[in-house]
Amino acid sequence: MINFSINLLPANLKANRKISLQNTTLLSLCITAVIIYVILLAIIFSLKTTLALSEKVDERQIDNLQVEIASFKDIQAQINFINDRGAELKNKDADKNKLMSNIIAEIAQSTPSDVQIQQLSANVKTKPNFKITGATTSIAEAVKFKEKLEESQFFGETNLQSAATDSTTHQVIFNIDFNLQTSGESQK
């Protein structure tokens, strides 16, 4: 047996029904989209509210921590002072070549065995920085002293100012002046 389904409604009525069904479908789709959109906004709103509340809690915690830290004001001041002075202390080892004890030890080391220093004056504020008056057996020894000072990494320009033999003692009395090595001079 064969079944037939025949819509016998007039054509315009059929078209109206089709349009009405289409519009109902569209409306329900739009309403669904709006509902999803509103739910999304609600989620974002609740998230924002939660974050705002959490922010207040955090701020309160920060305030509490700052109050607690402030109660250590004295020790904090001490540590700050120690670190401030520490910066200067760290630089202390850097300029060993400028220490007077190292400089005069270097002069002593540069003095030949046949030379006796009689007078030594050092002044890092004026040039020449060092003046030495000494006695020795010969001019060659005074020159040897001068050359040894020149070799030193501590000292720069060295001059043998004078050398004269004392007729009574037969000693050669000499004067040498020299300067500290400056950063501009080449490394020896």
Binding site: L41, Q76, L89, L99, A105, P112, Q119, S121, K125
Partner: protein
């Protein structure tokens, strides 16, 4: 087949207008403020972590208060806020005693505020006066205000060397500028030492480091003034006392 009639467009457009308008006027500010709150939350978390670390560090230092106070005293002695020349006088007297010397005198000169290099050169020129033998040079720049000092003493060579080492490696920040040694009777030397001691009234605030003392710094302060480095006496003619007769 879709039929685009007026009702279709009305539903579609009114939905779109509603969604876009509410997105612009409600959604956008809401998302912005939520994003901002999220960023603030991250910042706060970081700040809390940093403050908690700072607090923990301070609590730990508080437990070692005696040690911190001890280091503070040494730092204060090294570069004090005020001149404290009296304390230095005691130190230098003590240092002289250690090497068996007695200071003939100890004089403190006027305080110098921080000066620049040009001013120092000018002052040096004036100080030298009529002397034609010496020419002024750029003196080391004073980093901090200073008090000048000078002392006269009679000493042997090795004692002098030890004393200079003790002063220069001592507990107080100083700089020796002038040294005059004249041969006296026997092995005695007539010595004049001039220099400056520094002080620094201000303290530079440094929030990054003010809750911690590095172990290296701690060690440096603990050993400050307690030992002197050995002099390099290996490369010359090996002369022990250049003022001794040959």
């Amino acid at each position: 087949m879709i039929i685009f009639n007026k009702t279709f467009w009305a539903i579609l457009l009114s939905t779109l207008i509603f969604v876009l308008a509410s997105a612009w006027f409600i959604g956008k500010p809401l998302v912005e403020s939520a994003w901002q709150a999220y960023g603030k939350k991250a910042d706060n978390k970081q700040q809390i972590t940093s403050l908690e670390e700072k607090l923990a560090s301070l609590q730990s230092l508080k437990k070692n208060q005696t040690k911190v106070s001890d280091i503070y005293q040494k730092a204060e002695n090294f570069l004090p806020k005020e001149k404290n020349e009296g304390r230095f006088a005691v130190q230098i007297e003590d240092q002289s005693g250690k090497v068996g010397l007695i200071l003939s005198n100890l004089t403190f000169t006027a305080t110098k505020e921080q000066v620049n290099q040009t001013q120092t050169s000018e002052e040096t020129t004036q100080a030298q006066g009529a002397s034609q033998e010496t020419t002024p040079t750029s003196a080391p720049k004073e980093k901090y205000p200073s008090v000048g000092f000078s002392t006269d003493l009679t000493s042997g060579w090795s004692q002098l060397l030890s004393l200079l080492q003790l002063i220069e490696n001592g507990a107080r920040s100083n700089n020796l500028y002038t040294l005059s040694i004249n041969k006296g009777e026997g092995d005695n030397l007539a010595v004049r030492i001039e220099g400056v001691i520094y002080y620094k009234p201000s303290v530079v605030e440094n929030d990054q480091t003010n809750t911690n003392i590095s172990p290296e710094l701690e060690r440096k302060f603990e050993t400050l003034g307690q030992s002197v480095p050995a002099l390099d006496l290996t490369h010359g003619f090996g002369r022990e006392n250049p003022f001794a007769s040959y």
